[in-house]
Every structure is written in C-alpha cells, then in structure tokens.
C-alpha cells in the first residue's frame, strides 16, 4: 500500500519528462556551421587597387582613379572611393566603356584634365560605337575637397580603361539575332568581359537587342519586357541558369524557340556552358523544356546554313568540287559542259549556279545538277561583272563595274533589279562580298589618292553596308557604307578579300615583295592583337575562304596555294588546270 504513491509520482515524472521531450527546441546556443559552401573563386590574376591615400594631390587622385578602374576582376568599388559622396551615388560606370591606347599625365588643380589617345567607345551592350572624336578625347575632372581630401566630383558615366587591359579582360564575341524572316541568325560583334562575368555580360547584351539602327536588319525574339536579374551563374555541370524576370507567357512557342536558339548560339561561346536553364519568372518559356542544349538550333547558323564545305572550281570550263588536291566534276550539266564561265557562284544549298560569261557581260543562271536543258541568261550587256554572290535566301547579288561606277543588281524571286547602295553604287568597286545571312555587304572601294588637292596613288577602302529587308525577305534598302578603319597608317591596294568568320573578313594585300593577310571585323572595332596577320612570300592574288566556324582560308596564286589556318603555312603546288576556286555562296 505504501508503494503506490511513490510509483504514481515516478510515473507522473516520467510522463512529464516524456511530454517535455516531445516538443522540439526553440532556442539554443549559436553553433558555428562547419559546412562551408563549395564556391571556388575563379583562378587567375587579381588586382585590387589601392584606395585613395590621405594627402594625395588632385592629379594623383585622377591618376589613381583611372588606375582603380583596371581592377581585376572588373569592379568599380575601388574607383568609386576616389569620388565625392554625391558623385558615388550618381556615377553609372556601366553606361559605356571608353578604351584608350594611352593617356597623358593629369594636369590641373580644381580641374584636372587627361587627354586620351586612340580611344574608342563600347556602348553598354559592348557594341563598338566608333572612335572617340578628337574633341571628346580630353576629359576634365572637377575636383572638390571632401573631409580634407581631394575627390572627383563629376566623373563621366563610363568605365575608362586602357587598351592593354581590355585586350586581357574583354573578349570579342558575337550576340545572335535573327534576320527579319527569322530563318537565319545574324551575328553582331560585341566586346564583353572575360571570366565569370562573361555569360552574364553576353546575356545582358543579347537582351538589350540589336538597337533601333538595325531594326530592319535583325530581329530579337527575346522580348524587351524580359530582364536579367543579378547574373547568369554556371554550375559545375555546365548549366547556365538564365533566370529572367518578367512575363514570358505571352510569347508563342515559335518565338520562344527562336529566343532559345539565340541564347544557345550566344552562350555557346562560353566553353564552360553546355546547356542553359532558361526561365522567365521561374517558368520555362512556352513550349520549351527548361533545359536548352547549346548545340540546339544548328540549322539557324549564320555561316553554315545548309552549305557544303567542299571547294568549287572550274576545270576546262566545267564545274568540279572537292578538296584542293582531289577535285571531281559535279553531277549535272555544269560538270559536263563548258558554259564558258569566267566566274561563277553556287548557291549555299548547291542547287543553283550562276556564271559570268562573255567576258563579264552576261550571267547564266540555272540548277546545278540538272542533267538536261540550258541555263537561263538573266543578265546581258553588262560592262564588267564581279563574281556573283549568293545569300541564304537564294538571292543573287551582282556588281557591274560600268563607266559610271559600280551598279549593284539583286536577283531574287521578283527578278533582277538595281539596288542603290550609298557609298558603293557609282564607286570604283574592286571586290564585293555579301554575308551568308544576307545582312552585310562588304566591298573594297578604290578611292582616288588625292590628299589636300595633291595627287597620290589611289588607295583601297573596305566598306560595309547593312541590308534591310521586310519580314517576307524582300529588300527594303541598304544603309550607307561605313569604312572599316585600317589598323595601320598605310592605305594598301587590296588584292582580294574573303570571309574569315561570319563577322570578319580577311584582306590580302601586298607589302613590297610580300603579301600580308589581315583580318578586319565588320563592325570596325580594332582587332584583338592576338589575331594573326600572316605575311607570305609569293605572288598570291586570291583569298579563298568560308565564314564557317573552323573553315579554311587559302591564299592562292596561279602556281601555288597556302592553307593559312595551318601552322607551317607551306605553299602547295596548285593544279594549273583549276581556275576560280571558291566556296558556295
């Protein structure tokens, strides 16, 4: 009897303890988490500039401000420390990037000026916006004393960095838009930071679109209401997370697919990226799986649009194709019959051939592989026709060098018509190229070498024009030809040009007894110093190139040819029976 109360107490205690344990803790000590995140900083050189030192002079502040903008990896916090507090709040260095070759020593006290030489501007998208006019190359910084120290009060809204730094930190790449018919991608060259920020910068540039100037040239299927958040992280599996903000549900499945193709082509330039997770407000775009492989959309490629990688040439007036050392006649009449072509072009899908006959006065056009029938004579009575050019839409571009200067003729499904190309029509045009996407017309124009009324030998200029279409692919207009700046002081006579990539051309010109092949980008931006400009000995007259990625580039003379993509560049004897070597297009 006496045990019962003791037992009851024990049981009550146990139950209380039990119920006390069942609830989870709601407070406790602060415990260090030993599980650190697995984020590794990018390897590579780093540069964290010094902050302003007490007692620095105004000129030192400006000098160190310019220095601080070269922080590696790119950041502007260090540079911002040289600004007054008001200026820090309003400074927007992401507005543009001014790249200079050299800068003078800063001068002045309350106004410190710095003159830049050889400066050009990249806009916020990284698009080359032209050279800085001499008047704008001197920057004047208003200086103020804040808390006893000199600070800059009115910094320009730009990142001002030297050329050597951008060569290291920026990478010339392309962002991809579509042509107005949405059949082929149109690349636009940009220059964006390398490293971890690369994918973010590319995506931002793509989202910003081609700009109003290119409204009829290219289209962006990423709608303007979509914006990028903080950045595009790339995980260890190579998946880039493009998490857009904004409503993507209004896009059609076709638009979404084209947008995905643009993104895939743009981001595939980052070798770390293998696929893309594209979302808008957390949802995949309509009709798209959330994961896009960067290889997707190969059929929209701007350079290799259903084109053959074989060389084409004439042997005894008959069309042959293959590799330089093994050319065989093509199927069809063109391979059997000598039409008397002096020049020819085969359409990108190899189905049509256009040939110049009768000493450059007429053009024959017809199917390449037809086994019977004759080619149509589409042009006759011309003066001196340059080699014809095809684009992806089977539009044939012809340039006739008449006594009044060049006349540009377009033959499309509506038939032949004259096209006015400002800066080309009426000029002495030596060579002409049309990009496979049909968006660019690159010409070599021979200008009279008159300088201040003094007669000099004529010199050649490479000019580029953008071609505008409506959304059915019908030509609207061609813009003013813009001169591509020649990187060196001399103005050479150009022997030949050829596509190097979809956005660059190779130019062959003689230097004394030698020849040199230089690459120019179609936007006019200075070419990265790392791009080779090989010099060859020999009387090379022609360049044979294809804009395909990894495509070949040959320099050829009547006797020999050299593969410029090979490291040793040994000349090979040419098959003397062959003439007019070219690629499709």
């Amino acid at each position: 009897m006496r045990r019962t109360p003791a037992l009851s107490t024990a049981i009550a205690l146990v139950i209380v303890a039990l119920s006390g344990c069942v609830s989870l803790p709601e407070s406790g000590p602060v415990v260090p988490a030993d599980n650190e995140g697995s984020f590794a900083d990018e390897l590579g050189s780093r540069y964290l500039p010094n902050p302003p030192q007490p007692g620095e002079s105004a000129t030192d502040i400006v000098r160190h401000f310019l220095e601080a903008m070269t922080a590696t990896p790119i950041q502007t916090n260090s540079a911002a420390e040289f600004l007054t507090e008001d200026a820090q709040a309003s400074w927007e260095p992401e507005g543009e990037t001014i790249v200079y070759g050299d800068a003078t020593q800063p001068k002045g006290q309350t106004r410190v000026s710095v003159a830049l030489t050889d400066a050009h501007v990249l806009d916020s998208r990284g698009v080359f916006a032209g050279r800085l006019p001499p008047a704008d190359r001197t920057f004047s910084f208003r200086m103020t004393i804040e808390e006893g120290q000199w600070r800059i009060d009115d910094p320009p809204d730009a990142l001002i960095v030297p050329r050597y730094w951008t060569d290291d930190q920026f990478r010339p790449v392309d962002v991809y838009f579509f042509d107005p018919t949405a059949r082929i991608l149109v690349p636009e060259p940009v220059s964006v930071p390398r490293g971890e920020q690369f994918a973010t910068a590319l995506t931002r540039s793509l989202l910003a679109g081609p700009g109003p100037a290119l409204a009829q040239v290219s289209r962006n299927f990423l709608p303007p209401q979509l914006t990028l958040g903080l950045s595009v992280p790339v995980d260890a599996d190579g998946i880039a997370d493009v998490a857009l903000q904004g409503d993507g549900s209004s896009m059609s499945a076709e638009e979404a697919e084209l947008a995905a193709v643009q993104l895939a082509w743009t981001l595939r330039q980052d070798p770390a990226i293998r696929s893309i997770r594209l979302t808008a407000d957390g949802q995949p775009l309509p009709g798209q799986s959330s994961l896009i492989r960067v290889e997707d959309g190969a059929q929209y490629g701007p350079a290799d649009f259903s084109s053959s990688t074989s060389l084409l040439a004439l042997r005894d007036g008959r069309l042959v194709s293959g590799q330089p050392d093994a050319m065989t006649p093509v199927d069809g009449l063109a391979g059997q019959q000598d039409y008397g072509f002096t020049d020819f072009a085969v359409s990108l899908d190899s189905t049509q051939v256009a040939g110049i006959t009768d000493g450059g006065t007429s053009v024959l056009l017809g199917p390449t592989f037809a086994r019977d029938g004759l080619l149509d004579q589409v042009v006759s009575g011309a003066t001196s026709l340059l080699p014809p050019v095809w684009d992806f839409a089977d539009r044939l571009w012809l340039v006739d060098r008449t006594s009044q200067g060049a006349q540009v003729t377009l033959i499309d499904r509506q038939g032949p018509r004259l096209v006015d190309v400002p800066g080309v029509t009426g000029e002495r045009v030596r060579h002409v190229l049309v990009s496979r996407d049909g968006s660019r017309l690159v010409s070599v124009v021979r200008r009279p070498g008159r300088v201040r009324g003094e007669e000099r030998p004529p010199r050649d200029q490479v000019v580029t024009s953008r071609i505008q279409y409506d959304d059915r692919g019908d030509l609207l207009a061609v813009t003013d030809a813009r001169r591509l700046p020649w990187p060196t002081g001399e103005r050479p006579r150009i022997r030949d040009i050829a596509w190097r990539t979809a956005t660059s051309v190779a130019v062959l010109y003689p230097i004394r007894e030698l020849v040199q092949v230089r690459t120019l980008t179609v936007d006019g931006a200075p070419v990265d110093a790392s791009v080779a400009s090989p010099t060859l000995g020999g009387d090379y007259r022609y360049l044979i190139g294809s804009p395909e990625i990894g495509g070949a580039l040959f320099a050829a003379s009547a006797q020999a040819y050299t593969d410029l993509t090979e490291a040793d560049r040994n000349p090979e004897p040419a098959d003397v029976d062959l003439s007019t070597l070219t690629y499709t297009g």
């Binding site: 009897m1 045990r3 019962t4 037992l7 024990a10 049981i11 146990v14 139950i15 303890a17 039990l18 344990c21 069942v22 609830s23 989870l24 803790p25 709601e26 407070s27 406790g28 000590p29 602060v30 415990v31 260090p32 988490a33 599980n35 650190e36 995140g37 697995s38 984020f39 900083d41 990018e42 922080a71 990896p73 790119i74 950041q75 502007t76 916090n77 911002a80 820090q88 400074w91 927007e92 260095p93 992401e94 990142l159 930071p193 971890e196 920020q197 994918a199 973010t200 910068a201 931002r204 958040g229 903080l230 950045s231 595009v232 992280p233 790339v234 995980d235 998490a243 903000q245 957390g282």
Partner: protein
Amino acid sequence: MADSTPTGALRRGLTFWRRSIQARVVASTVLLSAVVVAAVGWLLIQQTQEGLLKNRVETVVAEAANETADVNSQLARAPGTDNDAGTQLRDLFEPIEDRGAARGFAVVLAGPVGSGVPLDGGGTRSSAGLDVTSVPGSLQDHFASPADPAWTYTQIRMDQENGEVREGAGIVVGSQIELKADGELYTLYYLFSLDEDAETLSLVSRALLTAAVSLLVLVAGLTWLVTRQVVTPIRLARRVAERLAAGELQERVRVTGEDDLARLATSFNQMASSLQKQIRQLEELSRVQRRFVSDVSHELRTPLTTVRMAGDVLYDGRRDFDPATSRAAELLQTELDRFETLLADLLEISRFDAGAAQLDTDDVNLVDVAHRVVNMTRALADQRSVAVLVRAPGRPCLAEADVRRVERIVRNLVTNAIDHAESRDVVIRVEGDESAAAIAVRDYGVGLAPGESAMVFNRFWRADPARARTSGGTGLGLSISLEDTHLHGGWLQAWGRPGEGAQFRLTLPRRAGGQLRQSPIPLVPVDSQEMV
C-alpha cells in the same frame, strides 16, 4: 452524510485491495510495467528526437551553405560595373526568396554589417509574412561583425493569410556575403521550419504511446489471467476451509488436473479427512464419556436410594448407638447428602451435554432474585460470619429468563463468594437497562491468580487443591451456571486478583434470544486497584 458515499466507496476499495491478492498482483505488475515502458519510451523518443534534429541540422546547414555558395557564385558573375547596391540586393534576394518559398525556408537579408541597425529597424529584406524577430538576438550579435556561418534553434513566427501568427520551432542558419555593388558585407539568415520533424516526432510518440498502452493492457490481462488461475483454487480452498471450520466436515475441494494446485487440493482434502476422522473419534469418545457419566449417575441412583433409606434408618436410631457408631451414622448421613447433590449436579450436567435442557422463560426481576438468594444463603453466611449485601437500584431490573435457572446461577455465585469471602462482606450489585440486566457478586477474599478467571468455570476445578470444600460444593456449580447462562444467551464472566477478591458477573439479554452488546455493570469492580 454527503461525503459518506465516497468515503464508503474508498473504504470498500481499500477493503477490496486488502483482500484481493489478484488486484494487488495485477496493479503492481501494471505499475512496474508502466515504469519500464515509460523509461524505454522516453529513451526511444529521446533518441528519435536527437536523430531527427541532427539529420535536419546537417541538411539545413548544407542547404544554406549551397544557397550562400550560389549567391556568391551569382555575385561573382554579376557585372563589375553594376554599382547600384539596392538593385543588386533586390536581384539577389528575390530568387532566394522564391527558392525558399518553393523549398520551404524563409530568408532574411540584413546589412550592411557594422551599420548597427537592428533587423526590425529598416533596410532588412525578408520573406513574405516572416517576423524578422524570429532571428534570435544571439545570432544577430554573432553577425554584428564579420563572422563565419553559424546556426541556432529559434521560434519562427509567420503571419498567416487569416491574420493569425503561426509559431513553430525552427533552425536559423546565418552566413555573410560581400555585395559586389558596394563591397559591403551583408548577412543572410535562412530560417528552416521544424514542423515536419515535430510531426514525425509526434507520430512516433503517438505510436509509442499506443504501443505502450496496448502493452500495459496486455500485461494487465495476462497477469489477471495468470493470477486468476492461481487464486481461484485458493479461493475455493478457502471457502471449503471456512465450511470445514463451520463444522461441515464432509466438505472437500474439487480436484482437477495434476498440477501443484491439484496436489495442494489433494493434500488439503487428506488433511480434512484426517481431521474429520479424529474429530469424529473425539466426538465419539466424548459422547461415550458423557453417556458413561449419565449411565453411572442413573445407575447409582437406585443403590443410592437404598443406601439412603438404610442411612436414614441408622441416622434416626443413632441415639441408641454408642457414641462412636452414632457419629458414624451422622457422617454417613452428611456424605450421603453430598453424594446426592453431586449426583444431581452430574445428572444436570448430563442433560446439558445431551442438549436436553429447556428454558421456561418469564420476566424476572433480578433484584428479587438477589434478595431471595440472600435469604436462602443466610444460614451459610452467618455460619461464616459473612455479611451479604445487596446493592440494587430502586427499580426492577428485568430480563426475560428462566427464573429457576437464574436463581440457581446466583445462588451458586453467592455460595461460591461466601466460601471464599474469608469473613469479609459479599456485595451483590444489580443493574439493568433497556437491552440487558446484570448481577455481579463481589467478594474480598483471596481473589484469583492471573489466568484463573477463565478456568473457574471448568468442571471440578479448584484454585487450591489442598483446600477443603467447606461449603460442600461439588465442583460443578460454576460449570452448570455457565451452561445455564449460555442457554439464555448471556454472559457469565469472572474477574479476580490475588488479595483483592473476585467478582463474577452475570449478564442477561432483556429479551430472550436478544443479542448482548454490553453489560450494565463493569466486569472489573470500581473499587479494585485496577480501576483506581
């Protein structure tokens, strides 16, 4: 009277507890099992909770670390020319908040570190509905300066859509990030709810509790069954033993099976049989003895009558004899009187033994009886120089009794008192009330030695065997008185103490067959030293 029922119930319960070995065994087994089960259950729940928490902490710390790594990775990839901290913080926070909402954690982004502004003081971004004070002050203090990631337990408070505040245990993990736009450190707190773990734990607890209760019920049932198997035969044996004790000697335990209990029953039965046999033998012996006494008494009457008649002749003619013969005749007469008295007593005893005694009841006033007996014994009292005093109330003390037998009892007591009074007074006290009447005879003689008061009623017992029976008592008087008293359903009790005398008390129920509860006169006299 209102609380008598619970008290009664309690008393009945306690009685049941005292009497039922089955209840005690079941209760103690269940209690002990409950203690063990509770201890084991506590251990299990403790282990489960520890395991759950450890696992959860590892998971959430890893998840928070991943999120922070993700944030750092995003920050590293953000354009270096972005210098708008507000936009960058927003762009940083919104995806984490969305991911948190999808994965079930809340986020607080506070800073910059060193600004000294508390979490609820503005500039803090937090998941929708989260009360930022859910981040405990200790953790905020930890991150008041640059610090490594850390976690702690907390209570998470979330505002619900219906306006209520939901509270629950949680884990908060904090880590710091450096914002690219302004180069400042900001602290990210991830708050993970422990609701699921609490549910799991309560599920486990409920399962354990159910199991424990089932186990206890099972244990109780098993114990009850087992003890029932043991206790039932014992109860049967008890009942049989009770009946045996009540004289039903033919009762036996029913034996089933061959187990220990069956053997116990068999032994019990053997014992009962043996007892029955011996009791029968003793009864037979006793009967034979009584019959013998009765027969002897009867057989002695006839020769005694003859001897008596011859003795009377001799006694009547004793004056003609020489003195010695005359004296012999007188002695013969005296002894014949005693012999007759003895024989009458023996016959009376035999009638009691044979159960032949009958009561002839009437209302008897014990005061009258006392006076009559005093008168009857006056000669003897005078002879012993003893004064017999009667102390009676001034009212009758009535009892429904056989007056002849009551008178005989009182006479026996008074004679016995005079015998042992040693010339001191004998006092007769009479008392009565509505349920009983009593008469007590007190003497101040040698008294009784300890233990003798129970033996005085034995047949032929005497306190001092060497002492002569001066009063001519047969040694059966008190035995017959006791039998007479029992016949009335009364009490006859003796008290005595050496040197203080003795007191014999007769108590009779007021009504024949009535139950006696107490006597109107105390057994121990008021003038004894015991009372003083």
